[in-house]
């Protein structure tokens, strides 16, 4: 899948300038996206997202915690992404690498900043006890476009999740679930890569090696944007920013319409 030869990289770039891709997709064309929910019975919510050969799992677990002193009546969420060693030959288990941290934080911000979760409703007792939502995202097979895949998996797992209940002696009953998480809307994360004025969506692993400049856009049902992050070691112009923003918002609408009715 990954051809490490320099030739491949140059070949990919030459084709993109002509508006072509090696797998004959258009520059803004996605591979097939599949979203399955409820894939792990032990999780409060879970989702498996495949985009082409890329496979990502996300699971939601809940626990109780003390709220932060500055938001004594709000629940908390923590999102992290991890590359499983099985996901690619170059992944190895160990402390979280920069790329994993950024992946987790970008997905986290897209969800958090969209304010789609009503954290006030996750308060059990002000100042004392709130629900803590863990979103764990695992990359099982890496064939590119992890930002889109992880963002979709996270929001799909959150929307799939049911609330656990508290027993009389205040322990959590993970079997007896009741109602969904308080979520409104579907924030979606889209990575748009750019190369000499061309904009490319859903890059596979080889393309991702060749194309590093990108912005990742988290946007909402109403077309607003709630998070933005540029990655890569090349500068981009203001015009490119505006174009890529528009492309990301439009693309998120299509995906939302198709996969989250």
């Amino acid at each position: 899948m990954i051809m490490t030869l320099k030739l491949t990289k140059e070949h990919i770039l030459e084709n993109i300038l002509k508006g072509k891709r090696l797998d004959s997709r258009k520059l803004d064309e996605y591979r097939e996206i599949k979203i399955e929910t409820g894939v792990s019975k032990k999780a409060e919510g879970s989702a498996k997202v495949t985009i082409g050969e890329t496979i990502v799992l996300a699971g939601v677990k809940m626990a109780t915690a003390t709220p932060y002193p500055d938001t004594p009546e709000e629940g908390v969420m923590t999102t992290s992404a991890e590359y499983l060693p099985m996901g690619a030959p170059e992944f190895e288990s160990g402390p979280p690498r920069e790329d994993e941290i950024i992946l987790g934080r970008v997905v986290d911000r897209a969800i958090r900043e969209s304010k789609c979760i009503d954290f006030k409703k996750l308060c059990i007792e002000p100042k004392e006890k709130v629900w803590m939502v863990f979103v764990d995202i695992l990359v099982m097979n890496h064939d590119g476009n992890l930002f889109d895949a992880c963002g979709l998996a996270a929001i799909a797992a959150l929307k799939d999740a049911k609330m656990p209940t508290l027993t009389d002696d205040d322990t959590i009953d993970h079997e007896n679930l009741k109602g969904s998480l308080p979520i409104k809307g579907t924030p979606i994360t889209i990575a748009v890569k750019c190369y000499k004025g061309k904009y490319i969506l859903d890059t596979n692993a080889d393309e991702g090696e060749a194309l590093t400049s990108q912005i990742i856009v988290g946007s909402n049902d109403d077309g607003t944007v709630s998070s933005l992050q540029k990655c890569g070691t090349e500068g981009i112009t203001k015009k490119e920013i505006a174009d890529m923003l528009k492309l990301a918002v439009d693309t998120s609408k299509k995906i939302r319409a198709k996969h989250f009715k």
């Binding site: 032990k42 499983l84 030959p89 764990d136 097979n141």
Partner: protein, 230 residues
């Protein structure tokens, strides 16, 4: 009580519904997904390949390295990511259960890495992981003396049982004996046990586990055939 009286209506020597699928992780050299009831595991193999860190390299053989990992949401109370003592132990005993089937001396200075990820845990995760790893090794085309096949047998509520569920494991008199073997030679490559029992009963439970392994062996071979037929 009749023989079929288990909470899930299985017979005493009946294995939970199994699913086995070979070739689920495209980037890996070999992979498989295995389900036993509500227990699910994905295993993937990379190798033989160059070994990092280099000081682990052995001049006369390949080094088999197995990682057993539960995903954070595979259990009721979220499991913190990262190694713990249990997963370290299981990585080691699983390595020792698979190694007898391999010809490591044929691949000197390399590593064979197996990553086993428990995506849903309901008893028998180490046996499921071994079965999946064994399929993934075969799928990777790594030469093997035999498939390694594994199941737990044990006792609950005074009955000897095959492939216990979490519920059965929680019985007050429960004993749990995970075993792995190479069916062709009958050699046992993993054997662990917890719980008070007589040596005579251990022999009976080992016999029961052997019966289970034979059934699983057939299922493994079928899964491999299906992969290569398609």
């Amino acid at each position: 009580m009749t023989k079929s009286e288990r909470a899930d209506n299985r017979k005493l020597d009946e294995i939970r519904p199994m699913k086995m699928k070979v070739g689920v992780i495209k980037r890996a050299d070999g992979s498989a997904e295995v389900e036993f009831g509500d227990t699910k595991v994905v295993a993937a193999v990379y190798g033989p390949r160059q070994i990092h860190p280099r000081h682990q390299e052995r001049p006369d053989r390949s080094v088999l390295r197995c990682r057993y990992n539960m995903l954070p949401f595979s259990v009721s109370d979220r499991k913190r990511p990262g190694y713990d003592r249990r997963s370290t132990e299981l990585g080691k005993v699983i390595t020792e259960s698979l190694q007898p089937a391999l010809f490591l001396e044929e691949f000197p200075k390399t590593a064979i890495d197996i990553d086993m990820e428990i995506t849903q845990a309901d008893a028998g995760t180490r046996a499921a992981a071994i079965n999946a790893a064994s399929l993934a090794l075969a799928h990777a085309g790594i030469p093997m003396r035999d498939l390694v096949t594994s199941v737990a047998a044990g006792r609950a509520n005074k009955k000897l049982l095959l492939d216990m569920t979490k519920e059965e494991e929680d019985a007050p008199d429960a004993i749990d004996l995970p075993m792995a073997m190479m069916p062709r030679t009958g050699k046992v490559t993993l054997l662990q046990m917890d719980g008070i029992v007589s040596p005579e009963d251990i022999e009976k439970i080992v016999d029961l586990a052997e019966i289970g392994c034979m059934k699983i062996y057939e299922a493994q071979k079928k899964a491999l055939h299906e992969k290569y037929r398609s």
